[in-house]
Assembly symmetry: C3
């Protein structure tokens, strides 16, 4: 069984760890509320327990992560409270370590999202309760990777042997950084497709990772040549650029989809801006909204793992 | 039984629908906590369920609605979380529709209050869970109307045959827009009393609605002539004016009350500024605070209706 | 038994009241979650009940108090919601009294922290539910005093006969204002040690209180002469000064500790800035983090007291 206290990066998980987590998430999914057609009795596994959400409004805005972590906790019967540095005693000069020490006294788990990639590691070192990395700057987003893999397993029944293309902003897109590392544990080597200037940073390139630098206007041709099972598209992270990011824009539309294998899927961590045309939303290969929904059962499983709740 | 998915406007309710809702609210009231002298066992009807509050801090400030919706959910055993556009991925360019699609994956019900009157309709069209209009700009406030009618029924035992005067800012006051339409379902035609410039907009005027344009200094005389059972006063919505709204001010004080029938009541959606003199607060005809309290049981009933919970 | 509706200041408690509260907190502590090595079944005493947190983000920033009050409520099975004046109808001109009247309709208890020391008294006068003072300007912080006394009793088994030194900013430090009054109920007269200009205000000086004005560089000598059982250090409240507060700085480090009795303890309401050297954190006489943790069981006891829940 996974024996870490904190969930800080995807490297901490073995393939078996991920498989166990996915199996647990599958058992929890009927109690996650993502299938609106089904009623369910609520689980009380985390009854009386407390999640502290340590996000950075303004700097690290969030809809999915900030919404699905509390949803997961609430579906498990637990409680949530929000901590905001800007209205805390950190404004009086309290250190990060002292703040963490105090918050962990009031909590059973801390979910941390910060623009500074080191923040979550400092918090984990000072915390007496489990800390979850919910996105650290442009470094990693490990719980996103776990839900991405969960989504692929739900669709294909396996990860092994899948051909995965990661597309777009591979430099600043933390979700693909974690994903490439996660897939490698299953022997899957992702192929990067990106414009010059947005290549995957060295520290996230795995042994079998390959990359194709293209003019993004040729995304259709590149994908039809590669014939991937999974196209994992990402948003150009404009907020992390100092200059104009417009030259990197691309679009996946019906024309691009027509060149893909019939059973291929389009995934995306969202938000999308214009890189996924609304005209493909109704295509059954577009599973990005289901992917987002899967955040709830996967984060329920993560909470059970870290808080030591069994659910068979 | 009421068969709508969403609660967007008062028009969606028939008279029977309203009567059923009021009966349900009456059964739930002992579990609403508004009578501080009585203890009660909490209801678990919404246990494990999640309300997302989509309000606009800064633009649509709120004390009653923002407080009583979560109170209603909590009294039913459910959970609440707050969504704020300003700290969400909408700041990265995510569309309203995509945002809604995601939030509904994390929720069982969405409560929406927005300065843009169309917002709640767009949210409802994209949501996989029920959406409640908690005030859309200066258009409507249907749950306020339901609690207003509930308050009248508690006081008079009926709506039919009541003489209701709506007073003040009939142009921007969304609560009276919904109320006039709601009352008409019971055959009650409200009489508007307002200064020139703040008349009821055409789209909210029902067939039997009458209006008297007065100098608001004459409010006492106008009311003593009309002899209404219910005086429904409203605040001049200064924040929706571009210029000075001071010339529209009026005041209901002891002198005005002395001209009213003995069993008449003063209602007001609150907040009041100076239009209700504090000197009438202790008068038993001043029921505006009880009216506000009634928001909790009525919103509990609305949640049971939309979330399909029976309570006999 | 304590028979007040509200908890506004420490004067309202007799010695017996405090002893009863401490005994209750001790029984509740195993259900408070502060001992991370122990699992526990959650208490449902406040199931379905609602705490409204009325804090002033920006003006009265808080980590401990804003975190431990909801933690206490959640450990008791209750719910919390946040009220913020800045996004409420007070921005439209609603009065403090009207606002309170409304909030109490949606709540079972209101926790109030405000820079204006009179605010909590006005709120209490208008509220239909219990109001707790969570820090009123530079006046008092009575729940802090209760947890401070709880911490001393846990350490020494008693309050009577303890020699307590309160050190630092005795002028603006509201925690020591309440503490000196609380200790006096047990016949303990605190000794103040502070620089010229930060003396205890007259209204908080009890009959047996003594004060030594020193150059804060001599803090080590002053403490080694006094030989207190408890050193209660406080932060220089820089945010309440108009000018430079730097000349008042002091530091308790290993050298200062070496002059103290072996079984003495260092307490501090936190946050600390530089007045407690990190080099003493590991010393077992440094109990300030345990002290902060004790906020949860003590506030659980306060909630049980005000909400009339028995727990044997």
């Amino acid at each position: 069984m996974w024996d870490r206290k904190h969930l800080l990066d995807i490297e901490a998980f073995s393939r078996t760890d991920i498989e166990n987590l996915i199996a647990l998430a599958k058992r929890l999914e009927p109690f996650s509320g993502i299938d609106k057609s089904k009623k369910f009795k609520p689980l009380g596994l985390c009854s009386g327990q407390i999640m502290t959400l340590w996000f950075e409004p303004g700097k690290e805005n969030s809809t999915r992560t900030f919404g699905s972590f509390p949803a997961a906790m609430m579906r498990l019967g637990g409680n949530c409270k929000v901590f905001d540095e800007a209205t805390s005693s950190m404004t009086k000069g309290e250190s990060l370590e002292d703040t963490t020490r105090i918050l962990s006294g009031h909590s059973d788990v801390i979910v941390d999202r910060h623009h500074d990639a080191d923040h979550v590691y400092t918090v984990a070192s000072a915390s007496s309760v489990p800390v979850i990395n919910a996105g650290n700057g442009s470094a990693q987003h490990p719980t996103q990777t776990l839900l991405d893999i969960y989504t692929m397993v739900k669709k294909f029944g396996r990860i092994e042997g899948l051909k995965v293309a990661v597309v777009g902003d591979l430099k600043y897109g933390r979700t693909v950084h974690s994903l490439v590392k996660g897939l490698e544990k299953f022997g899957v080597h992702a192929t990067g497709i990106c414009p010059q200037g947005l290549e995957m940073p060295g520290e996230f390139r795995t042994a079998g990772y390959e990359e194709r630098i293209i003019d993004m206007n040729d995304i259709g041709r590149a994908l039809s040549e590669l014939k991937p099972d999974v196209v994992y598209a990402t948003r150009i992270q404009a907020e992390r650029f100092s200059g104009n990011s417009g030259t990197y824009d691309y679009i996946i539309d019906k024309a691009v989809l027509s060149g893909l294998p019939k059973n291929a899927v389009i995934m995306h961590p969202l938000p999308r801006i214009s890189e996924l045309s609304r005209e493909i939303d109704a295509d059954e290969r577009s599973i990005y909204f289901h992917q987002a929904d899967n955040g709830v059962p996967v984060r329920m499983a993560i909470l059970c793992l870290l808080l030591d709740h069994e659910f068979e």
